[in-house]
Subunit: 236 residues, 2 copies
DNA sequence: ACCAGTTATAGTCACTTTGACCAGAACTAA
DNA sequence: TTAGTTCTGGTCAAAGTGACTATAACTGGT
């Protein structure tokens, strides 16, 4: 790495290091209640600083890729995941984020669908955690995750990102559980249904989810934009 | 600068350059109508690339300052302004933003009060432009300004940033003119008044604006947070 | 002193949205 | 067949919003 072999004065002369990291959200059933909850993959640091601690997936920025491509590649390399939604979160550039060098991290956040998330590679150094039960992470990554959670909550409330946490077909109850998991409060099923059915991006299908213990609910699908970052189309 | 004295292979090996830029908004009376409109200061490029063209104020990131401090300093140095609001906008990192080297720009946006803006230094190389009548700017700065305008509009609509474009005391008509200038549409005075008076951050004073040609309007003040970036307090 | 002109401010009314709640429909399990 | 559960459509009151009307309060001119 850049600074690891340099002495103090060389480190001060060098430009700040630039890194890309990603906060990845996916739904998994809670062990206790079985209801969907937010989980995220973390990677174990194999070097100092913070060796052995868990951290957000990330890495340096290559010269031949855009910021978003770098985030996307990083996500794929570390977790094997392809996100259904990817958006820039924030650039973190505090002076003492890393004890060994000055690092500016441009952080993205991603949503992946449950089918993808289920077959995500887990290993000694890649593991999934409940977003509300992370331990102490490396660097300032706890603060970054909190910030990302805040963004996810506000975006779920006013835009239609929640669909990117689900597969192509879903019931309104499943969709409601997503909202409940993210917003951390219960929603009235009838009122929720009314609001969702008022949004034009929701399409009613002829299919029903069979196999449940009760009345089979109708399946819906989301017909909005493909989710991959409408922002960045205008912001290279 | 880093790459200007390097050859092609050295340039490719070097890490991407990191720059801080700022989009600065202030209100000034329009020449034609006299009503307040959005203006912003730009600086003239004195080197290649884009020598002679207008660009956003910006510069490299020093090692001893945070991203926000860098934006703040830059703003002060180039225009002499102290912002009343400052927030990170976006990190732009497309591959071909600059023809000579790979540059990642972390862009901030700022609001300054009219009293400040009035005594801002203008010179051969620093000039104010109407935000809706910029010429062709250097790099991708036109796109960045458009993005900043979008952010300003949406933030004005749902949060209380508009106050940072005004002084301490203001009439509701002045506040409405700010909203009209930013949102670019007329608002009903009575309904606007009703909404503003419903927000707890607005304080009615005993003072009235004298000297007008008509009934003197009451002065109000904004008692919300000091505007300097509540975001960054939690995001170092 | 009065009036015309203009803005400030309060209020009305219809319409929409939202939260709380109720009730029947449709299925499964026993 | 019945009990249990969820799905689904509906009502109702409260709150918010846009369009509009009317009065209050000032200035400037006659």
């Amino acid at each position: 790495m850049y600074a690891s072999s340099a002495n103090v004065s060389e480190r001060l002369a060098a430009p700040p290091a630039l890194a890309i990291s990603t906060v990845i959200f996916a739904l998994r059933p809670s062990r206790s209640s079985g209801r969907p909850t937010l989980w995220m993959p973390l990677v174990r640091r194999i070097r100092e600083p913070f060796k052995g601690q868990w951290a957000l997936p990330g890495g340096p920025l290559s010269h031949t890729e855009s910021l978003q491509d770098a985030a996307s590649r990083n996500l794929r390399e570390t977790t094997g995941l392809a996100p259904s939604y990817l958006e820039q979160l924030y650039a973190f550039g505090g002076l003492h984020r890393s004890p060994t060098q000055r690092v500016v991290s441009i952080v993205y956040w991603a949503l992946v669908q449950p089918t993808e998330a289920a077959l995500a590679a887990e290993s000694e150094n890649v593991k999934w955690f409940r977003a509300d039960r992370l331990g102490e992470l490396a660097f300032d990554h706890n603060a970054i995750v909190e910030y990302a959670l805040g963004r996810l909550r506000s975006k779920v409330a006013y835009s239609s990102v929640a669909y990117h946490l689900l597969g192509e077909y879903f019931t309104l109850a499943q969709l409601r559980e997503v909202y409940e998991a993210v917003l951390d409060r219960e929603l009235d099923p009838a009122n929720f249904r009314r609001q969702v059915k008022a949004t034009p991006e929701i399409q009613e299908t002829d299919k029903y989810l069979q196999g449940g213990k009760h009345r089979p609910p109708r399946l819906y699908r989301f017909t909005g934009r493909p989710g991959l970052d409408q922002d960045n189309r205008s912001t290279p």
